[in-house]
């Protein structure tokens, strides 16, 4: 249906400047059970996802486990080649640059600082590694840059020769952030950066990420399932369900006036520490559908409390409602009239 040109359109520009991260029609399909004579079953982990993030902005991606958040982050990090679609970082397409050059510009911070740091290397070595791999500067310059970065993330200089096992969870996550920052990246992809940490430490790390963003004009892709953290950090929110973005918009709009029934259910499940409220009464049916056999029509309809006849027949189109992009039949006037 699409011509080659449509498939790889040019990077968009805003106010004459390219976007920090521009993702267009990204699709990743895994073939489950594939053998040399069997095609396997297609699993559309990321299905026609587009997103635009400006410099210095924070985009949060939320969704349940298995919705494709992590696959999307791997694509954005260039760790996997997408089946189709394009990723641009500051106007430059990922396909045009090699893996190493790309890694200089987009860096990850992972969930679990206990498994993402090599236990047999010192903090100094861990943070210096990217500089060695990319062969940046002389040894003296590298040392200096490691020290600067450590100071930036609030790690005392004396820890440079410590091992990860000598540090607390919060300090380890600071090391992981320092390792990402030492490359002076443009985009930081944070995959559940605080979910392995205690609440008091989570607050310290969130405050640090916020300070670094203001200081270095960093762009964050913030992947999280904790909506109170998302609300605190994000400028824009994308809600993902079975590989698709079902709602994308400014954080304020999405979190205060959620349009998609799935977003509404997610927000309804947030437990604020208010003893008077008791447990929310949400009914989403039982569990996540099998991504190998996604339901026809709208993928959310088997769990949706507001499902109509049309929802099981036709895939909803992307609509813009009050500045938020929503994929839901509720907001398409003509769809609601289709008889059963």
């Amino acid at each position: 249906m699409q011509s080659e040109e449509d498939k790889y359109p040019q990077a968009q520009q805003v106010d004459g400047k390219p976007l920090a991260l521009d993702i267009q029609h990204l699709t990743q399909v895994f073939h489950i059970g594939k053998t040399w004579l069997n095609e396997g079953k297609p699993l559309r982990a990321v299905d026609d996802v587009s997103l635009q993030v400006r410099n210095g902005e924070v985009l949060a991606i939320v969704g349940e486990s298995g919705c494709g958040k992590t696959t999307l982050s791997r694509l954005m990090l260039g760790l996997q080649k997408p089946e189709s679609g394009a990723i641009y970082v500051n106007g430059q397409a990922l396909v045009d640059v090699d893996r190493k050059a790309f890694a200089r510009r987009v860096q990850p911070v992972f969930q679990d600082p206990y498994s993402s740091l090599n236990p047999r290397r010192t903090i100094g070595e861990i943070i210096m590694d990217p500089l060695l791999i990319h062969d940046i500067g002389t040894l003296e310059e590298q040392r200096q840059r490691v020290e600067e970065t450590m100071a930036k993330v609030g790690l005392p200089h004396r820890m440079i020769n410590s091992y990860p096992s000598q540090m607390s969870g919060g300090q380890r996550q600071r090391v992981a952030i320092a390792r990402a920052l030492v490359m002076k990246p443009e985009v930081l992809i944070c995959d559940e950066p605080t979910s392995a940490l205690d609440v008091s430490v989570q607050a310290q790390i969130l405050n640090l990420l916020q300070e670094l963003r203001n200081e270095l004009n960093l762009t964050y892709i913030f992947i999280s399932h904790d909506l109170s953290v998302v609300e605190y950090m994000a400028d824009y929110v994308a809600v993902m369900y079975l590989g698709r973005f079902v709602e994308v918009g400014p954080a304020r709009d999405v979190l205060e006036r959620p349009k998609h029934p799935y977003t509404q259910a997610l927000l309804g499940s947030v437990l604020t520490p208010d003893p008077e409220l008791g447990l929310p009464d949400i009914d989403l049916g039982r569990g996540f559908p099998d991504p190998l056999n996604p339901p026809p029509g709208c993928r959310f309809h088997p769990r949706c409390p507001k499902a109509m006849a049309v929802c099981s027949q036709k895939e909803p189109e992307k609509l813009t409602v009050d500045g938020t992009e929503v994929e839901c039949h509720l907001y398409a006037k003509e769809d609601a009239d289709i008889p059963v």
Binding site: E64, S65, S168, G169, G170, D198, V199, S200, V201, Q202, A203, Q204, L206, N207, Q210, H225, D226, L227, S228, V229, E231, Y232, M233, A251, A265, L266, S269, V270, L271, T272, P273, D274, P275, E276, L277, G278, L279, P280, D281, I282, L284, R286, G287, F288
Partner: protein, 343 residues
């Protein structure tokens, strides 16, 4: 549906714990993991032990079940479960209680289910062991329970292996397993931490309804203050092996008094709070080492209100009001001025 009063305050407690301490021998000396913790739960009541990693909440639950590692030493002036002194029971008698009259649910349902046995076999095993009876009886009970907790197609589910189930389903299986016998007390250690938010709500709703129906007492151990506020009747906030504040859920969340409780609550972003406008509160520093002698207040090195006496004085629990107490030298009025401020 509000958190409070699914129990009768005049009922005798199912479990009464007084001055429970756990010391663990480590190469550097003795680690005081739990230090004189006291609480009680009544039938149908939910008590929550809340705190961050290392505060001793899990060790407390293991101590009640007498499942502590060999290097640990348990002491208590009272651990009475349903009229029996748990500390005085033999290992054999204790084994008869575990899984039978006291049920446990752990955080990660994947590691607490055996991957090489079918779900059905694992559920039946408990029944056969504690209740005797035949396999058919056990299978019928398992099917009945799965249906009861809302599992579609229970007969087929029982023939599946744990890896074939989603996280939420596995946790439901753990709950069914715990119900195979009829426990009077459930100890749930972070039962929903590994689950998605929507599934978390469903599991909590299930626990709540089962608890009401069977009048079970629930000890809910978690670090998630939202879960505590919505589920618990009573709360004990733990820090460094001690209970630093306890009371009814309404009192503790509406009038948090101990600086640690107040700090914890300020660490969670509220609805409407955003990083660009107001910074999150955070508690500086880290939890102190619990090895060796502990003098004074354990929170003093992270506390904005700390003064000279905090390092030396015996800090006991004192009342804010009836049934709501906290462990601090300063009177509650000190903290009344809204936000936690640098002293």
């Amino acid at each position: 549906m509000s958190g409070a009063h699914h129990y009768n305050p005049d009922d005798p407690p199912v479990l009464e714990v007084e001055d429970l301490s756990v010391d663990i021998k480590v190469p550097a000396g003795t680690l005081h993991a739990v230090n004189k913790v006291s609480f009680s739960v009544r039938p149908g009541e939910t008590l929550s032990l809340v705190g961050e990693s290392g505060c001793g909440k899990s060790i407390t639950s293991l101590a009640i079940m007498r499942l502590l590692p060999k290097a640990a030493r348990l002491s208590a002036s009272k651990i009475i479960f349903d009229g029996q002194d748990l500390a005085a029971l033999s290992e054999k008698q204790m084994a008869r209680l575990r899984g039978n009259r006291i049920g446990m649910i752990f955080q990660d349902p994947m590691t607490s289910l055996n991957p090489v046995y079918r779900i059905g076999d694992q559920l039946e095993e408990i029944y056969l062991r504690h209740k005797g009876g035949g396999r058919r009886e056990a299978r019928e009970r398992a099917e009945y329970l799965l249906e009861k907790i809302g599992i579609i197609n229970p007969t087929q589910r029982l023939t599946q292996f744990p890896h074939q189930l989603s996280g939420g389903l596995r946790q439901r299986m753990m709950i069914a397993m715990m119900l195979m016998c009829d426990p009077k007390l459930i100890i749930a250690d972070e039962p929903t931490t590994a689950l998605d938010v929507t599934v978390q709500v469903q599991i909590l709703q299930l626990l709540r309804s089962l608890q009401e129906e069977f009048r079970m007492a629930l000890i809910l151990i978690t670090h998630n203050l939202g879960v505590v506020a919505r589920m618990a009747d009573h709360v004990a906030v733990m820090y460094a092996g001690q209970v630093v504040e306890k009371g009814s859920s309404a009192d503790v969340f509406r009038h948090p008094t101990h600086p640690y409780t107040r700090g914890l609550l300020e660490c969670i972003p509220h609805p409407g709070q955003s990083a660009t406008r107001n910074k999150l509160g955070s508690i500086p520093g880290i939890v102190p080492s619990l090895v060796g002698r502990i003098d004074g207040c354990t929170f003093r090195n992270r506390c904005n209100y700390a003064f000279g006496d905090c390092a030396t004085a015996q800090v006991g629990l004192r009342d804010v009001e009836d049934g709501h107490s906290y462990r601090c030298l300063l009177p509650p009025e000190t903290f009344a001025a809204g936000k936690l401020e640098k002293a």
